[in-house]
Symmetry: C2
Subunit: 363 residues, 2 copies
Amino acid sequence: MSQRKTSGDVGRATIRDVAERAGVSVASVSRVLSGNYPVSEELRRRVMKVVGDLDYVTNAHARSLAGGGTPTVAILINNITGAAFAHVAKGVEGAATLRGWLSLVGTTGDDPERELALVNLMRQQGVAAVVLLGGAYDVDEYQLRMARFARSLDAAGSHLVLVGRPPLEGDVPATTVDYDNEGGAYAMASHLLSAGHRRVLLLPGHAELTTAQGRLRGAQRAFEAYGVPFDPGMVRHGPYDYEHGYEAVEDSLKGGVDFTAVLAGTDVVAAGAMQALRAGGLRVPEDVSIVGYDDIPLASQLTPQLTTVHVPYEEMGRVALRAVADRREGGGTGRRRGSDGDHLVLGTHVVVRNSVRPPARRD
Amino acid sequence: MSQRKTSGDVGRATIRDVAERAGVSVASVSRVLSGNYPVSEELRRRVMKVVGDLDYVTNAHARSLAGGGTPTVAILINNITGAAFAHVAKGVEGAATLRGWLSLVGTTGDDPERELALVNLMRQQGVAAVVLLGGAYDVDEYQLRMARFARSLDAAGSHLVLVGRPPLEGDVPATTVDYDNEGGAYAMASHLLSAGHRRVLLLPGHAELTTAQGRLRGAQRAFEAYGVPFDPGMVRHGPYDYEHGYEAVEDSLKGGVDFTAVLAGTDVVAAGAMQALRAGGLRVPEDVSIVGYDDIPLASQLTPQLTTVHVPYEEMGRVALRAVADRREGGGTGRRRGSDGDHLVLGTHVVVRNSVRPPARRD
DNA sequence: GCCGGTCCGGAAACCGTATCCCATCGTTGT
DNA sequence: ACAACGATGGGATACGGTTTCCGGACCGGC
């Protein structure tokens, strides 16, 4: 009964349906729609009419198979819930949209296997680039793993972009968009030290996380610069979440640790720390000062408003996409940029609010 | 010089390359990879070896053109930065991943034109469903607009899912996943009223936003139930952001408005309100009580912790995806579900924390 | 009025994969 | 030992567009 293409078809309309109904050839319809070939006004009118009637849209898969198609960027993140992520994603997405590009999102949940699966999935999709977000765990395997991803994507005509983590070693085809993590931590710690604080509790994050390592290093350098001895016993490692901030301070309080300020690795950690201080009967900033890192909206919504380090997350997202777009356009004429141009670093700065005061008592 | 397929090809490897190099037919490679057809162990070994060597992955576009392909869900949102959104997205993404589906994200920025463009873009991509997130502006055009989207997607074999907004009127091919918005507001207002509050400042949100309308209605019903006269002058409309919360309370304070509690339309608005109260020299909850709505992490991170209405955002995301998957599986045997089964409502409940106390003075 | 140039429409090849159908080979039953 | 059958592999075709290559029509100029 039903041949290949009967009228009562339930699937979507094809370009052939449009051509047939408009009484023109398939090629003509394609030309009208892509607009890269001269067509008569009459033809255009007829075709557009039918396109409107049938509510036709071209099949993106077929189009991209034939060579065209809208470029797509994939964003891979550990946890979609983080505020910092959202801003990077916003930057990427916004810049992508501006160019008519599309963006995909995938979450890895800190699972390397899932990360691999996603990178491959994105490779299948033929994405223009894969953007990996957030700090990385600096284990041995990591560098090899990323290098493999980079080459794999590169061979498929795609590209790896690392955002918010240090660049890969060696000659790996990847772009890194980073921020001055250590510098921000240095400035933040200096702020605390210049206010007179000497005993500060450090909550940099997980010991293996590159982000945490950089923030700790920056703080250490500041201590050195101020000639203040650095006490490793004042460092508490842990995840970047509210609970860790709370527990770390709670424990320190119970343990009788002496401190007049808290240098948190993240605004969220700072929020937890602040709560724990209050629970312990201490006032912020009168009794204890607190600073955070990231400058997410939460920072200015806490009471008192949090002094923190501003990280240009959204701009990093935009920059990342621009890097990909540039490379894609300039790709035709050989390697224009050396491996140095593949590492972009954005600045950070301290945002002073109301969570820091000179310590009540001086040592 | 270069014929159709030379060895030094820069593009990604095709199935033909694999077949050629393994000395087998294209069909065999396809069969080994999809695994839905019996192949000898010897063949499988040979093919997999080459696949490994070439780091080959199938072209998703070609695959989906040929009928197969991984289903994809598109998530469309006004602003990717909202915490509530992130949780719905997490739910959708997680459930999608569990089934091996993919998820796309697009932001509309409250621009109807952009929304239309995105829906069409998703239609081109042949997505299994388009999930529209967040409250809607209840203007005349809206219903028609959505109905058009729904039919358009339906005709293309896709499906429209509305999350967090009321269902469409009439027989429109769309699924709605909603929460008991009004009920939550009723319970929240009742909580305040039963604590003895009579003069409460209401910040439900934008007057045209369906979410705000429902929350205001719920509150009004609670006032009626408690026999407390409802004063429209105590309502301040505005966007769901920190600034609005701050300014609304600041203005009310300056204007000499008399109130003992604030019923905010959102946790973020509540945070702004709380800050403004403090700036005005009032204590929370001793002088003024505050409640929010949404129960995002921020609610429990504020000081005092915010009493609010829990909305199961993540679950809504999961439910939305399940609805799509079910429909897709059961779609073969005609319409299994009536238009009633296309509206799912999840429950809400009050989460009592520390931001509410009986008013210091009774009227 | 004829010729040449410009412009536009139609047919066909190709993008990379899945699948249908047929050929082949080895095996088993009688 | 022969026939029938099951298990596999290969060739061809469809999926929905884009694009190139041509051929034909229309127009203007001389």
